[in-house]
């Protein structure tokens, strides 16, 4: 170490026993020794603060209150616990919440835009209202299959009673849907109806 480094080292070790190298440096530099002693004295002066004593009953009171809060907390509602978590460890919890939000948002976007379909209520609200009390089977087809479906003879169907069949035609700008007809029951509502 050069002299500058030694001086800094001596000052930062004020109040500790100097190493042989530091002792030798301090012997050569009494002004630095005086500075070191002043700094060490500040440490001793501040150490007098350890004689400040709390009320002896404080610990017992703290124990009782913490215990009460723990026991109360075990019955707290989940959003209050979340609030606690957010106030104490904000970063990880917010990160997790954000990640969850992104996943949920992504999922919603994916489902909502799947195959380019819109809901009946959005595209034909008057029809949606009319069939709301009848069993509905949703059929999703490509636009080129529309003629074939419209020409089919439903009177020959073995299904009785006949359900309301809603045909949704996928937009041709969303070609991701597999071709062919898809019938319920995944998207049907159990209701009574009569023709």
């Amino acid at each position: 170490m050069n002299d500058e480094e030694l001086k800094r080292s001596c000052l930062e070790h004020a109040g500790e026993d100097p190493s042989p190298e530091q002792a030798e440096y301090l012997a050569r530099h009494p002004e630095v020794r005086a500075e070191v002693e002043d700094l060490a004295w500040m440490g001793r002066l501040m150490s007098l603060k350890r004689y400040e004593m709390p009320d002896p009953a404080m610990r017992a009171e703290c124990q009782a209150r913490v215990r009460q809060r723990i026991e109360d907390g075990q019955h707290r509602r989940w959003w209050l616990r979340l609030e606690d978590a957010l106030t104490f460890h904000p970063a990880p919890v917010w990160a997790a919440a954000l990640a969850l939000l992104l996943v949920a948002g992504g999922l919603w976007y994916h489902l909502d835009h799947e195959e380019g379909l819109t809901t009946l209520a959005e595209s034909r609200p008057e029809v949606a209202e009319e069939v709301s009390t009848q069993e509905v089977v949703l059929v999703q087809i490509d636009s080129e299959e529309l003629d074939e479906v419209l020409l089919a003879d439903v009177a020959e169907s073995a299904v009785d009673p006949l359900p309301v069949v809603l045909i949704q035609v996928a937009s041709n700008v969303q070609p991701t849907r597999p071709s062919g007809l898809q019938y319920g029951p995944g998207r049907s509502m159990p209701v009574s109806f009569g023709y």
Binding site: L11, E12, H13, A14, E37, D38, L39, W41, M42, G43, R44, L45, M46, S47, L48, K49, R50, Y51, E52, M53, P54, D55, M58, R59, C62, Q63, R65, V66, R67, R69, I70, E71, G73, Q74, D84, A85, F88, H89
Partner: protein
Amino acid sequence: MVKDDPPEAVPELPDDELIARSQRDDVEAYNELIRRYHGKVYALVYNMTSNREDAEDLVQEIFFKAFRSLKRFKGNSSFFTWIYRISVNRTINFIKKRKKRTGISLDDVDVGIERDPAFVELSSRESPFRDCTITELQEKLNKALSRLSEKHRTVVVLHDIQGLQHDEIARVLKVSSGTVRSRLHYARRALQVDLAEYAP
């Protein structure tokens, strides 16, 4: 929820066992951990805030929040280091928020101070301190301490008042020992300005 055990008296158990039990919601075990560390945590928070009411509230909050986080405590550091780290962070956040409201409310000073070599040396000097009461000294020290930045105040409290070693402080603050020494050096220099009348 209070468990029906322990078969072994809780005060006899080492920290590790108390922590493991506390992680299983054993309030008795956690109560013992509070008993062991309350004094040190209180002293840390009190010296950082210079306000006994704030310190009392903060210490309760720290122990309560620590219990809620205890399941995430993996034992990579000692409980002492962990609870101290929580205490320092929580207290610094508190000090930053209450910046505009700096009331000082101090604990009583133990009579043991009169036998402390530093106090004896001060009393025997030809200096303004000779006519200064213990209460006045206490107020001066606290005011000087509260004027330090939070990071400098932290190292003074941990080292000079609580007597932690540099490497222990480094673990609590997650900095190097060199950084602790450097901060302590600058903090003492700043204290010299405010406490010039007590200089040797």
